[in-house]
Symmetry: C2
Subunit: 348 residues, 2 copies
């Protein structure tokens, strides 16, 4: 019975505020590569795993809103942390999966994943595209961008779209979907480098560095003299307030993330409800999981866009299990450009 | 050429904060009851006029959100103030209107209304119902309640509905629509008297006095142990925050008013956006005017409910032009029970 060492990342205790290195530990255990019993239906050697801001909310002491939904279940101190990723099957108890097959699903921040019964795991046909694309643009970040833009924002051609955290995993895709759909798109990000990238590589009509703006409200007035029709919100806080103040009648806000509020340092958005009423604004929170019904369309469209070069998948890749904590912490200071992924191992 | 004195209410200058008697003046002018020129297409002797909280927003210095939409145009100091109401035609230049006919539309807070071309004015068939019903339950308050509940809240039978300012002009109707539709309905109001009325006369499942609750969040947890599916928001501020915190997945907030914020004294709602995301809450501002397409259905259903006694129209009536300022000011201290209406004159 072959045994291996499995290193994985865990939190030492619940995380409050911004995460630091000391919140994490790299644990190591010996695991058998043979499936024993019926609890585990596959063992996967992890190749690439996703690193996402929302995980921080799962590391906090459970909130009532999270308790309500099982896929944002709390991360337990000392336990492996699940995350979307790509890997290879090393042992399978499932009739439809064979050893050596490439899979995508909920893996762990670690060398191996013991796939419990019913856990999301599908065969992956890379369709000639690089594996990181399947973690980012074709993974949950992509579905979030697709469902959020097409289903929540309900865009019309020619509308003005504002995207915050526009160089991030989801924002960078939303901006591109919106351009390809026929909208005018302006994004904001936190460095000049990112701003250049949005304009030069991703085709945004314009972009600005929000850190260089003293007054977000005036900045948005300048960039959207005709008002905002759609705001794809990844950050919450002051930017959400300013966006609502600059929205047009029947404007839509897709609330995808509120990263400025995740660490507890940022102030909550205190919206001007008179704007919401008089301009008949709709503000809607959503999760990618609600748009699984769009999965086939999403994959078809996005694969085509990526293949033809109409869309770019920005992947920001670190290497090794040990790099996960730093990669994760960096999300909250804007270190990443595009989708943050950790390459756990080479795909042999 | 018959002439009459026309007394009307005006603001002396833009109103900031809570309105007081000194913000208003009763002006008097002599008007001819003969139509001269083509600007005026009818002259109406006002019988009943509506007094609504949203008027305060029109008395402020114009905000960007109001400037965007013409039917919330600023009220100009010294000028007559338009408001929904019922009256009698005393002179008509319109082929479809005759002297003596009963009409409903945008009248003035005054004895007479000079109806400018294109201004909303329709013949009124009272259908055997008291005239005040046509200002409240069958007027814009009713359409607001109907459009807001059926179109914005998109209710399902059995859902739990929370209504704030539940004994007010709109709230009292929303609660009754929701009960008749098959929802569980709980309202809040600001006096024991109003709370009793909601439970005993309007059929609410339960009601509470928010002024007696130290912690709105806990109060809502107590009244909605299974969570809120629909929140019909008339008040904004702390109650909106507490409602969002207590909402169920896929909950809907119809933002009809934010009276706690109108006078500038109340704090804005600083929503927990994580709740909005994880629970996929939709928050939607709306105006009755967006639901004119439902007008015929609204009138048919509401007339039937009122006729058969399934629905009550609560009207709180003051008398005389001079009573308008006090009636209006009282809206912001919760003096009214149900729809606030001023009877300008008897209908002869």
């Amino acid at each position: 019975m072959e045994e291996v060492r499995n290193k994985y990342v865990a939190i030492k205790s619940h995380v409050n505020g911004a995460p630091t290195e000391s919140d994490f530990e790299i644990k190591s255990e010996t695991i058998s590569l043979t499936i024993i019993g019926s609890e585990i239906e596959a063992i996967v050697k992890n190749v690439l795993v996703s690193v996402d801001p929302y995980q921080l909310n799962r590391m906090k002491k459970q909130s009532s809103s999270q308790a309500a939904i099982n896929f944002a279940s709390a991360i337990i101190p000392g336990h492996a942390i699940d995350s979307y990723g790509v890997g290879r099957v090393v042992a399978s108890g499932r009739a439809d999966l064979e050893k050596g097959e490439l899979v995508v699903g909920l893996l762990s921040w670690g060398d191996y994943t013991l796939i419990q019964k019913g856990r999301l795991l599908n065969k992956l046909d890379p369709m000639g595209l690089p594996l990181p694309h399947h973690v980012g643009a074709l993974g949950f970040s992509g579905l979030t961008a697709y469902g959020g833009f097409y289903e929540v924002c309900k865009p019309k051609k020619g509308e003005s779209v504002f995207v915050s955290a526009a160089s991030g995993s989801v924002g960078s895709l939303v901006g591109q979907y919106a351009k390809l759909f026929g909208c005018r798109v302006i994004g904001c990000a936190g460095t000049q480098n990112k701003v250049d990238l949005l304009k030069e590589k991703l085709g945004f009509d314009d972009a600005f560095n929000y850190k260089e703006e003293m007054d977000l409200n005036s900045a948005l007035k300048r960039y959207f003299p005709e008002g905002i029709d759609i705001y794809f919100d990844n950050v919450g806080g002051a930017m959400l307030e300013a966006a609502v103040a600059n929205m047009n009648q029947f404007g839509r806000v897709a609330v995808c993330g509120a990263i400025s509020e995740y660490t507890g340092n940022g102030k909550r958005a205190a919206l001007q409800m008179l704007d919401v009423i008089y301009k008949r604004i709709t503000i809607q929170g959503f999760l990618a999981a609600d748009y699984l019904k769009c999965y086939a369309d999403f994959i078809e469209m996005t694969t085509k866009f990526l293949r033809t070069g109409k869309m770019q998948s920005l992947n920001d890749i670190s290497c090794g299990v040990e790099s996960v904590p730093r990669a994760f912490i960096g999300l909250f200071s804007g270190d990443n450009i595009g989708k943050k992924i950790v390459q756990i191992a080479d795909d042999e």
